[in-house]
Symmetry: C3
Subunit: 241 residues, 3 copies
């Protein structure tokens, strides 16, 4: 079985960061009794717990496989995709909850997201260099459509929300858009594509920084203010006239 090389340092740091984030979110959420607010904590804690397990699996060599592409043997950390398959829908769920999105928007977001991760995994495991780029393009296209929904109809729905909730949504939406577009960029510059401009060591570091920012950073900003979460979960009828 393939074993992680020097890049494993970043995987251990990633696992540690996710563990710290998880413990911090559990601590903050422990005393929250409102069932609507709890939902934000539950989703966010599952995000970092899943990412922790994925990073530990990669660091210990379980989440790693080899794919022969042309005359090269690539080290592919497939466990990333297992992580993302669970965590990216949950991140979108957090955003949708904040925006007060309707059922159809949530279903579309989650469906496009799962399509994006699965086609991304196909890209990572495909042996033919040209088809790797084709699948990368399909997955990136799904990402662009996803961000279009975030910036379009989800933002429109978030505008109806009380002031601070709308602002928090905008902050988290901008963070998500800014970070998520970097994933396919790191992928195409890294060892997964035929370009291989960035070596595995730095690619792993880049993904780790992105993952920590998009998950622990995201959760920190989301759960920072109880006041805003209270406004976000208040039913319309209870809003001050």
């Amino acid at each position: 079985m393939a074993q992680p090389g020097a890049e494993s340092i970043w995987l251990w740091i990633g696992a540690l960061g996710m563990a710290i984030g998880t413990l911090y979110f559990i601590g903050r959420g422990w005393s929250v009794s409102d069932v609507e607010q709890q939902l934000f904590y539950i989703a966010t804690i599952f995000i970092t717990t899943t990412a922790f397990a994925s990073y530990l699996a990669m660091a210990t060599g379980f989440g790693l496989t080899e794919v022969v592409v042309g005359d090269r043997t690539l080290d592919i950390y497939w466990a990333r995709y297992a992580d993302w398959l669970v965590t990216t829908p949950l991140l979108l769920f957090d955003l949708a909850l904040l925006a007060g999105a309707d059922r159809n928007t949530i279903a579309t977001l989650v469906g496009v997201d799962v399509f994006m991760i699965v086609t991304g995994l196909v890209a990572a495991l495909t042996p033919d260099p040209a088809f790797r780029i084709v699948w990368w393009g399909i997955s990136s296209g799904a990402l662009l459509f996803l961000l279009y929904i975030l910036v379009g109809s989800l933002t429109m729905q978030a505008r109806e929300r009380p002031g601070d909730v709308g602002n928090l949504f905008q902050t988290l939406r901008n963070l998500t858009v800014a970070l998520w577009v970097l994933y396919p960029v790191v992928w195409i510059l890294g060892t997964e594509s035929t370009l291989q401009l960035v070596p595995l060591y730095w690619e792993t570091a880049a993904f780790m920084v992105l993952d920590l920012s998009a998950k622990v950073g995201f959760g920190f900003l989301l759960l920072r203010s109880r006041n805003v979460l209270e406004q976000a979960t208040r039913r319309p009828a209870e809003a001050p006239a």
Copy 2:
């Protein structure tokens, strides 16, 4: 890695057909603003998008593996089952939505369907020729039970619906029953069983025609009449006395 042979022509045609269907359904659904009607479009668009990705994966050789059965090495397109695992529950969901089915019926349909696809995959990947037939029988049994629900309790629930909705349900139900029973027949006549009466080339063509009919054909008939979908999503209270 196993590579597709001459049958790949059918896989490319399948991918193209699913892509055309997807674009057509997106075009038709773009201006639909009623959230209940949108659900039909969203489900149907995900069906053909998933099938498109699956056909592309098979055509490019990713969705193909080899299974040694006795002294033969079979080419097994496992990506079909990944496709079906997503698309057949969505097709049933479309039908259930049209029939106005209750939650238990939907849960039972989806559960039996997933059981049918997973045991079908076990049949396709099992090396022992006799056990392949046993698993095929279990999966086909699940299919028969599924069709029994479609023709039985789902049809009973659809009878309560306004005239055109009931008629559309009957058309789509008949199409589904007629096409779905052919899948295990093609399987048992084709290369997956020990009979091998139909070569891989024609088996792939048959599955492609079935898939296009059961997905793009189904979606075309379902989304053809906005008028009927309007009736299907009208709440009882709004119905004319």
Copy 3:
């Protein structure tokens, strides 16, 4: 492909037991017309049907793989985990339904449960003996947290239920706690760990007895009394004053 040894006798008995349980539950549930009560039958029938397919897959050698750990080659029945991934959330769903649990408790139970099964599978497939124990510890930690919710907040919610429902919940909860804690014990004593105190033959027998008790036994106790299920599904407003 690895083939089952003498332990296959227990796998065939397991498959037979699950089949008998399934048929019995179908028979009992056939005439139930209340949609809330039906849900208990549907969930329980899917539990034993899934376990039947898993046991058949293991008995016929499909659900078995080999993992090289140090200088030993372990026979790992991975199909157990596919079974548990579906059946344990459904068992918790039955318990939660009986306790009248809220949405957050159900979401947390299912999330922690899936985490427990997936990390358990990682433990079973990891080649490094020390990391096998680490993953076993993570999975067992998730189990303890799960049981803590069962005994804590779920039991608190069940106390609000009418007398017989509360008693049935307690019986099934005690059964579940008592049986589920034995799974990691069998695992660590059996062939999966480096201890290997219990040979595969007896380990397979132990898991079979546990599975039949926790699924068919559980279902038998749950569905035994129509009277209690009627009370469990009666809406608060209908309760006698």
